[in-house]
């Protein structure tokens, strides 16, 4: 394109005056840059000429004119600038930018059931955004491509030709000392565009007060959404705006470049982080741990990109804020873990769980630390201090204790988890004392410790963290509890089947006291029925453990009974109403034991031996 021939100052002035925005309606009907390319070049040339003459001139009357003329030109250029921006500005197609397939952790813990639930993320395809058709590198509109928002991706927001025009104008405005105006007009147009895209990403405008009042499960959904939106905001939206500023102001003036960028994105950036900040300062309760960690990890992941996009000095406050939020989230995580430990220790319920079954606390805690082990990578970074444990510090014997020497070389997180199990155990043992029946107390301990071991073994991570040694110890303990249970219940029952006291001393006949024998049978029957009725209602949830326990009972009970029957039934059967005393066969007993620990009541009638 041939540059037009150079023009005189007079001619230049005429051109500028012709396009004076404030002068007449005619000139405002259309924009120079919408029209003929020659007119555009002519105008720009005119502006250049005026500027050139001004810088060359000495103070004179001519200068006054130039002074006025340049202002008219600048005002016009400002309007042109605005017009070009507006006609090339449209919000991003944000729907297609959101990719939801990145998240690895989408679990949360249901406080009531103690079980945790997985929420499946819906896989969505990330399509290429509607970029300018000229940008050859971003071709495929049609083909669906999977691309996550894992890194900065700058989009071309404005077509290249428009950018050229904008540069032409910016150059002149800046060199005339009108960069303030330039920043203002740029900011006002682009800011609205960014706001609009931002809103479409669904970043909510909640106050800290609002967030404190919302239920956590509602907030969890919002956090998930926020994480998705934040990635798009930082990596695509803000990054693209930055690129646009660079494209327009490159080589002209860095200060203007930065000022325009900040003007445009500062508001949305602050609003974005406000949500994360409000979450980081919310009250610390155990169920919040995992989503907070998700948020922490997402922000950590974003931090390098935040630093890159907001690298200029004027954006320092944004970088600082992001770092502050990150550190608060870390602190919150640590605090929640502490809080949790304390809560487990002091969980006060004294109502014994019916049937001696697994206490909800046990379930909750084991599921909780199971989830924690899923997050061990992050938590290993965050948890750096050992748990502060009981009696050694407090001198209080009613507190649990833990000897760290046993666990040399473990990570602080591992120590915390083990400590939690120690506390849980302690708490469980405390709760067992609420049972009036000692047998039930033992059963309760057996059930709960067994559950702990099962859960720990069930998870690879957890098992590794806790270590097989400790699990062996716990196993031994619940086996002990099982033994204690048996002793407490059955010793006295089997006592009825003992030999001593049945034989009458002295006489030469095989003296067995029939009355004593009858008493024995009656006592045994009564006791067994009692135990049967009671312990059928007790509950051992784990089927294998239940089986093993029953087998262990029958192994002791049946031989003793059979042998007793064998030795003494004849004496009873030779008397009156033997059926009142020998009520049960060994098989009857065996069947009855099957009722044990089912958690249901049984009818009083056991099958009598058929006579």
């Amino acid at each position: 394109m041939e540059p037009p021939e150079s023009i005189t100052l007079d001619a230049a002035e005429k051109i500028i005056l012709r396009w004076d925005s404030t002068a007449s309606e005619e000139t405002t009907d259309r924009m120079i840059f919408d029209g003929d390319r020659r007119e555009v070049d002519q105008y720009l040339q005119a502006v250049d000429e005026i500027q050139r003459s001004m810088s060359a001139a000495t103070i004179s009357d001519g200068d006054r004119k130039g002074n006025s003329t340049i202002q008219i030109a600048m005002a016009r250029l400002e309007d042109e600038f605005r017009s070009i921006l507006i006609s090339n500005t449209s919000p991003l197609e944000t729907d297609s930018l959101i990719d939801s397939s990145f998240s690895t952790h989408s679990s949360s813990i249901n406080v009531h059931s103690g079980e945790f639930e997985e929420y499946p993320e819906d896989e969505r395809v990330l399509r290429q955004v509607g970029e300018s058709p000229k940008a050859g590198e971003s071709s495929s509109r049609a083909s669906a491509s999977y691309r996550s928002t894992n890194s900065i991706r700058e989009l071309d927001l404005i077509p290249a030709e428009a950018i050229d025009n904008l540069r032409c104008i910016a150059e002149r405005m800046i060199s005339a000392g009108y960069h303030h105006e330039c920043v203002q007009v740029y900011g006002s147009v682009r800011k609205s565009a960014v706001d609009s895209s931002f809103r479409r990403l669904g970043v909510e405008n909640l106050s800290i007060g609002d967030i404190q009042r919302l239920e956590w499960d509602v907030l969890e959904v919002k956090i998930r959404r926020w994480i998705r939106a934040a990635k798009v905001c930082v990596r695509i939206l803000f990054a693209s705006e930055k690129k646009l500023c660079e494209q327009i102001f490159k080589g002209l003036d860095t200060a203007t470049d930065n000022a325009c960028f900040i003007e445009t994105v500062k508001g949305p950036a602050i609003q974005l982080f406000k949500f994360a900040e409000a979450i980081s300062i919310s009250r610390r309760t155990p169920e919040k741990l995992f989503k907070m960690l998700d948020l922490h990890d997402a922000l950590l992941d974003l931090l390098p990109d935040i630093d890159a996009v907001f690298e200029s000095e004027s954006s320092e406050s944004i970088r600082i804020q992001a770092a502050e939020i990150l550190s608060r989230l870390a602190e919150a995580a640590r605090g929640i873990l502490s809080e949790f430990e304390n809560a487990v220790l002091s969980e006060p319920s004294k109502v014994p769980v019916p049937g001696g079954t697994i206490h909800p606390l046990t379930r909750y805690v084991m599921n909780y630390i199971n989830l924690i082990s899923d997050y061990k990578q992050t938590l290993n970074e965050l948890i750096v201090s050992k748990p502060s444990t009981g009696s050694r510090y407090s001198g209080d014997q009613t507190m649990p204790d833990m000897d760290f020497a046993e666990f040399e070389g473990r990570t602080p997180l591992a120590l915390h988890l083990i400590w939690i199990i120690v506390i849980l155990q302690f708490n469980v043992e405390g709760k067992s004392k609420c049972y009036r029946d000692n047998s039930l107390a033992h059963l309760f301990i057996m059930n709960n410790l067994h559950y702990i071991v099962q859960k720990a073994k069930g998870s690879q991570e957890l098992r590794e963290i806790i270590g097989d040694d400790y699990l062996k110890k716990l196993t031994w303990k619940y086996q002990q509890a099982a033994t204690s249970y048996q002793r407490t219940t059955w010793v006295r029952v089997l006592y009825c089947l003992r030999d001593e006291g049945l034989h009458v001393s002295g006489s030469f006949s095989s003296g067995v006291s029939k009355s004593a024998l009858r008493e024995r049978f009656k006592a045994f029957n009564a006791m067994f029925e009692e135990v049967h009725r009671t312990q059928a209602m007790w509950h051992v949830p784990d089927s294998q453990l239940r089986e093993e326990l029953r087998i262990s009972i029958t192994e002791k009970l049946l031989p003793a009974y059979r042998s007793f029957l064998g030795r003494f039934r004849s004496h009873i059967e030779s008397g009156r109403h033997p059926e009142n005393y020998i009520k049960y066969s060994a098989e009857d007993l065996e069947t009855a034991v099957l009722d044990f620990f089912e958690g249901y009541p049984v009818s009083q009638h056991l099958r009598r031996r058929s006579q």
Partner: protein, 390 residues
Amino acid sequence: MPATEYQGSFLGRISIRRNQIVSMDGNHEQEIEDLEIFQKHVADRFSDLLSASDATADASVDPLLSIAWLRKLLDVFLCCEAEFKALVFMGRDPSHIARPPLDRLIPELLERVVKALDVCNAVTHGVESVRHWHKLAEIAVTALEQRPIGEGQVRRAKKALSSLVASMTVEDKESSNSKATERAWSFGRRGSKDRVAGQFRSLSWTVSKSWSAAKQIQSMLGNIAAPRGAESTGLALPVFVMSIVLSFVTWTLVAAIPCQERSGLPTHFPIPRQLSWAQSIIGLQDRIGEDWKKKEKKGSAGLLEEMQKMEKLGQSLIEFADSFHFPAEPERVEEVAAQVTELAETCRKMEEGLGPLQQQIREVFHRMVRSRGEMLDILDQAGKVSSPIM
């Protein structure tokens, strides 16, 4: 101060528990003395603020609601807050906090803190608007500082100042009339472009549309009541003092700096006027309240002293611009020059002060967050029901 060190760690809690503290009875006299000292300090600090703002010939004085004065106010707040925490929490058995009336008063205070946090955020963002106007004023200063003053500069200055003044007066309102806030087109535009222009607001709020600074303040003031009878010699008193201080500082920030929805800002504080420690606060509140009432009628963007100056000078300079013909009479030029110098000085104060002001507000924010966290921990420890895990 150990109280500020608590990280909410288990160990931290143990040490609170193990601190067998002075019973109220044993050191009752010491406590009463401490309470009095606290009140005196509060009174002194605010009295300094009041006298610092007195309009005298002394140039080093900070006018009421200027940036420098606001920064002093925030410093005062931080001092009061630190002393409050030391007085009420440090070295005390947490179960004291769980007793009435503190078991009700402390959570109420914490509610107010949350509202204050939101106001801090809104005000920090409001400072951005002030920056925006500052830049417009800078344009005018640059233009009018040139000699000789030519038509071009005057037009340029007028354009910037008109935009400035216009946006200051519509600031508070939900702009359907948003064209006024947008950097003015130099000419009216017809056709479809008008609609487009209407979409653009130069200032976007970062709070939801229903959030109102005025309502937050009203709510903060809503349930403050001076302790009476037996309560007035116990810890309820410093809690009351702190609540008043917190509310006053928050209210002042809202009055000074544009933030969303200030119509209905209360101009009356529920402080019994005879309280000695509160005299200066009452005095300040009266003055600022009066100013607020005057300005509210005209639709003001805020009472920040530098902003008021900018508005006044802006309007005056616009008048000058309207009546300007080249060459200007020397007396006019001199007059204008004086005003431009004043405007430049105001701009300078903003340039220097707005950044630090924002940082300080942020500091206040952080401090309140930290204190709130500590207080929550102590409350939890004292056996208040934290969310039960079953």
